[in-house]
């Protein structure tokens, strides 16, 4: 029996699944091969720990810790409703509101910001708009949307007046 064969049947040997012939060969190899006998010894020693496990001893403050844990959990449970209200209701509402506001602002900016085309169109007809736009653009940079709305309103009034 060589080392490879020996290693292959260690598990069978431990499970007492070898016939007497194999068992004899196993014992012979064990005697003469130090490497295999070391492996066998280690495995056997390890298995012996199945029969005398290490036990965690009595814990002096076990109940105190347990009680602390239960009390903490009770406090958490008490504030559970509060958490639900804030996390599950108020927070989503806030998110939703901020999204709506953001979209609204986006639309306002999109429709209200004077772009270069508009600018050039107007400058052809009336140069006083240049000053007006320059003034509002400056304020625009400060992202004051109410001014934007005013601009739209004034534009409309101006166009109507022209007609």
């Amino acid at each position: 029996m060589n080392c490879k064969e020996f290693k292959n049947i260690i598990a069978d040997y431990l499970g007492q699944n070898l016939n007497s012939d194999h068992e004899k060969q196993f014992a012979e190899h064990l005697q003469k091969c130090s490497e295999c006998s070391l492996l066998f010894e280690k495995t056997n020693k390890t298995l012996s720990f199945l029969d005398n496990p290490e036990r965690i001893p009595e814990q002096a403050f076990y109940f105190t810790q347990l009680k602390q844990k239960m009390e903490n959990r009770f406090t958490i449970n008490e504030s559970f409703l509060h958490t639900i209200l804030t996390k599950k209701v108020l927070q989503p509402l806030l998110y939703l509101a901020s999204i709506i506001i953001a979209v609204y602002i986006g639309i306002l900016i999109g429709s209200g910001t004077p772009n270069s085309n508009k600018y050039s169109e107007i400058s052809k007809t009336d140069t006083s708009y240049i000053e007006l736009f320059a003034q509002y653009q400056y304020i625009n940079e400060m992202e004051l949307e109410s001014i934007e709305r005013n601009l739209v309103a004034e534009e409309t009034i101006e166009t109507t007046n022209k007609k």
């Binding site: 260690i10 492996l39 280690k42 012996s48 199945l50 496990p53 290490e54 965690i56 001893p57 109940f63």
Partner: protein
């Protein structure tokens, strides 16, 4: 005070009775958890969950089986669940490492370092624990109850709610697998 009296009082939320009960059984529950978890901190945590569960669901205990059977069952279920959630955590942390979130990976690393510190670094014990941890859940349960808790096949069958024959089969398989796993461990190390 008998267990039955204790349980009746605990059902009425008698703290003194609960304290006596916990002090009587915490070593058992703690060790059953540790047989599966191999980690002192986790075992403390999960065994306390066992007692909280008992405190909350004491009405479900009908006294048909021994109180210890009930304790073993809850302790094993909670421990195995904890292992599963830890595995999931590891899986997610490996995802995180793929996507580059190193903060969580660090957490896992740290906790596994603690495991290393907790256990006695005796090679034999490490080899045994590593090998047992690789067994399927049912084999792991059966062999730890049989070897570490010294329960009979009959008692194990009550805890696991399977037949005595099935317990025998599980333990035989577990032992065969253990021989191989331990050998593999030493071949690699």
């Amino acid at each position: 005070m008998s267990d039955q009296e204790l349980l009746e009082k605990i059902a009425k939320k008698d703290e003194q009775a609960f304290r006596i009960f916990v002090e009587k059984y915490h070593i058992l529950v703690l060790n059953v958890c540790n047989n599966i978890l191999n980690n002192y901190d986790d075992s403390m945590d999960i065994s306390q969950e066992v007692f909280i569960k008992i405190y909350e669901s004491i009405d479900n205990f009908r006294g048909e089986s021994k109180i210890s059977t009930w304790l073993y069952r809850i302790a094993i279920n909670k421990s195995l669940n904890h292992l599963r959630s830890k595995k999931r955590q590891k899986w997610f942390s490996s995802l995180d490492s793929v996507f580059g979130d190193d903060s969580k990976k660090q957490d896992i690393k740290d906790s596994s370092l603690n495991i290393g510190e907790q256990i006695d670094l005796n090679e034999n014990k490490v080899a045994l624990q590593t090998s047992i941890s690789k067994l399927p859940d049912k084999q792991k349960t059966a062999i730890t109850l049989n070897s570490f808790e010294e329960l009979s096949y009959k008692e194990i069958s009550e805890v696991m709610e399977i037949s005595v024959t099935e317990v025998g089969v599980l333990i035989n398989r577990a032992k065969k697998n253990l021989y191989k796993l331990i050998l593999d461990y030493y071949k690699k190390n």
